[in-house]
Amino acid sequence: MTRIPLAVTTAAALFAFAVPASAATIFVSNEKDNTVTVIDSDTMKTIDTIKVDRRPRGIILSPDFKELFVAAGDGDTMDVIDTNTLKITRHLDSGPDPELMAIDPTGKTIYIANEDDSLVTIMDVKTGDVLAEVPVGVEPEGMVVSPDNKYTVATSESTSMAHVIDNAQRKLIANVLVDSRPREAKFTKDGKELWVSSEVGGTISVIDPKTWKVVQTIGFEVPGVRPEQLQPVGMDFARDGKILFVALGPANRVAVIDTATKKVLKYILVGQRPWHGELGPDGKKYYVANGLTNDLTVIDVDTLKAEKSVPVGRLPWGVAIMPGKPGAVADKS
């Protein structure tokens, strides 16, 4: 499975010394191209394109940034890429049609949503052993582990629920009905709220993890944009936890929400069909993948302005970012 040309490592080495140590590396999964684009955050230039299995969507890094996990839905597998060499080193037998996944804070356990089987697969990251399979609602998608590692939440797109798994018991403890087609789930930094985006329902449900009940629903409104186009998908809290970025898909905007007041502060125009994003390691920039314009938009977190967009592969889906550069930083330090 290592179809990476020799030039890749050479290219990485070439770029390595030309870049300051503060640089970060951005990985973007391209659903249509079956590739992952690797971008240098300083130059915003593509430094590599990694060929992966078919239909890559969910993309996350291990907590130590040494491995990159890419869920390849049509390949029925999860590619694991060494972030130092940018080569696929192994595969996790994710079960059929993996879409999104989450790794617990210890880096030991990965939770994978198997869209076709209505299951969450709980797996040992190192060995790839399946620890448990938890049946959830139809078409599971979003996955998140709570900051205290007690719970994992999976959203089921067809059933419209957030399913809460107790991580110690590996069992469901709650099922929370939200608006239609829930996509992503994120805990606030303090773990006191769980936010779930509902794409077709057009809302974010705020859930209290003490009761697992929806306590508030956040809607969207943009003059001149039809309500049905305001569809929240990917969500990320800023590093300080005070604001949330949410990609609004067909509305071609990223909304910024005040975490405390739950009010929308701003709608930032980006490329077409923004889907998922990620913050840079220093938290100063937010990067969002635009599925229909095949690019990645950089948003400044302080000014909340879109700064630039750079081309990536076709149908970019998700973003993962690690501090430092492939090879270089690790090798030098």
Partner: protein
């Protein structure tokens, strides 16, 4: 409440039970607590749900009718203890009737297309399976009661038999006359009938009924969906070549309406002159090759040939054989449909793949409307907590009804004629071409209301 159960539904329960048992065992071994009470609870009582006592015995331990609420099961911080189960007690087992008739259906013109005799019902079965799979989370189970009678059977008698048990949810795989006959039964007044089969315009207009909901798009929506695309393409001149059945005339009237609404021009409209014949002739093509140019040569300049052939008698013969080289749209060629086996947008891959695994064939439009009809009921019950047809009907017509159906946006019903609003796929090709409404066709409330009859135009007056 009728609790008879079909073979396929029973199979689902058993499989679900096995699945849950397996998981319960896994979880049990992981926590080294084999005598876990909630383990037993995890497995739905496969046997008892098959009996009339099911819904009563399923929740005997519950002190009141309310389900175990999630916070009650919140484990708090008791390390080492077994987390209580998150499963809902089954609050109700609800029958959904599938009422159909073995009508004669035209054979497909192409031998490549399989002859399918179970369109619709297979989609309904999948929706029931989906709903029952999550019954431990929602608290509601469903029985699909399959009542598909022979061609010469008495549909009214069958409907009376169903309605004798009370108000019912009926997925109607029926032609217009049968549908109206059932809907007009006095005992059907407070039932919910879901039309998954007929596109006939009169069912949404002068023959609309307050107890009938239309899951399948009508001819007006189909004609508008294609018309919008043709106008967007700047192909406004249409040559209509049609059959002469009831369905063909119905569709024709809607194409004429679309032309008026959206600035299309029907340059000529004529009836296909050759009578339908046997299909799949070994040497029929020579004749057809000569006939089609004859049938199409007299039309003035046009951009597309709009074929109306609801019986599938000749439409496919037109492509590549017309006098002028023009694309074919309508009932063949580029078609306007609620569903297409090749449509993969908005997560549709999931349901194609589930359907194929289960049924071993592609999901047709009627399978989709059957699925969507059942889902209309199960989603409404889950969200409203209501189980009786009149209450569920109220929810279906409320602002809270926003159904997810792999069409990108939420689906709901037009209050003036009970037609389901939905984007329409332009497909029939190996890869679908587009989905309407098209960009630029605007509406003050729902862009999907640019397809079909809007409120000011409706002729429907519910009795």
């Amino acid at each position: 409440m009728n609790l008879s159960i079909t073979r396929s539904t029973a199979g689902t329960f058993v499989r679900t039970a096995v699945l849950f048992l397996a998981v319960a065992l896994l979880a049990g071994s992981a926590t080294a607590e084999p005598t876990d009470e909630s383990t037993a609870q995890t497995a739905p009582p496969a046997q008892s749900t098959d009996t009339g006592a099911a819904s009563d015995t399923a929740a005997p331990a519950a002190p009141n009718a309310a389900p175990a609420s999630p916070e009650a099961t919140h484990p708090g911080a008791t390390p080492g203890s077994i987390a209580p189960s998150a499963e809902e007690k089954i609050k109700a087992t609800i029958p959904i009737y599938y009422l159909g008739k073995k009508y004669d259906e035209p054979l497909p013109l192409s031998v490549v297309e399989p002859i399918i005799t179970d369109k619709g019902i297979q989609g309904a079965r999948l929706a029931i399976e989906d709903a029952n799979r999550v019954a431990p989370f929602t608290g509601y189970k469903y029985n699909l009661v399959e009542d598909i009678i022979p061609k010469k059977g008495d549909i009214v008698a069958k409907a009376k038999e169903i309605l004798a048990k009370g108000n019912a949810f009926i997925v109607a795989d029926l032609e217009p006359d049968d549908l109206i006959a059932v809907a007009d039964l006095p005992e059907a007044k407070n039932s919910v009938l879901l039309n998954i089969r007929s596109s006939a315009e009169k069912l949404r207009q002068e023959d609309c009924r307050q107890n009938v909901f239309h899951i399948i798009p009508d001819y007006a929506m189909r004609a508008d969906a294609l018309g919008q695309y043709l106008i967007w393409k700047k192909w406004p001149r249409w040559f209509v070549l049609r059959g002469d059945t009831k369905g063909d005339k119905d569709y024709l009237a809607q194409v004429e309406r679309t032309a008026k609404r959206y600035g299309g021009k029907i340059v000529k409209e004529s009836v296909y002159p050759f009578p339908p014949g046997a299909r799949n002739l070994t040497s029929g093509y020579q004749q057809v090759q000569g006939q089609i140019p004859q049938a199409t040569e007299s039309a003035p300049d046009h951009d597309v040939l709009w074929v109306i052939d609801t019986n599938d008698d000749f439409g496919d013969y037109l492509m590549y054989r017309t006098y002028s080289p023009r694309p074919v749209v309508g009932t063949q060629g580029l078609k306007a449909e609620a569903w297409d086996p090749a449509y993969t947008e908005s997560g549709a891959n999931r349901i194609h793949s589930d359907f194929k695994k289960k049924v071993k064939r592609a999901m047709t439009e009627r399978d989709y409307t059957g699925w969507l009809g059942v889902r209309t009921v199960t989603d409404s019950v889950m969200r409203s907590g209501k189980t009786m047809p009149p209450d569920v009907k109220g929810f279906m017509l409320s602002k809270d009804f926003n159904l997810e159906g792999y069409k990108r946006i939420a689906l709901n019903f037009r209050p003036w004629d009970h037609q389901m609003r939905q984007p329409i796929i332009l497909g029939g090709t190996r890869v679908p071409v587009s989905t309407s409404p098209q960009e630029g066709f605007l509406h003050q409330t729902y862009t999907t209301d640019t397809l079909g009859y809007d409120k000011p135009e409706t002729k429907c007056k519910f009795k």
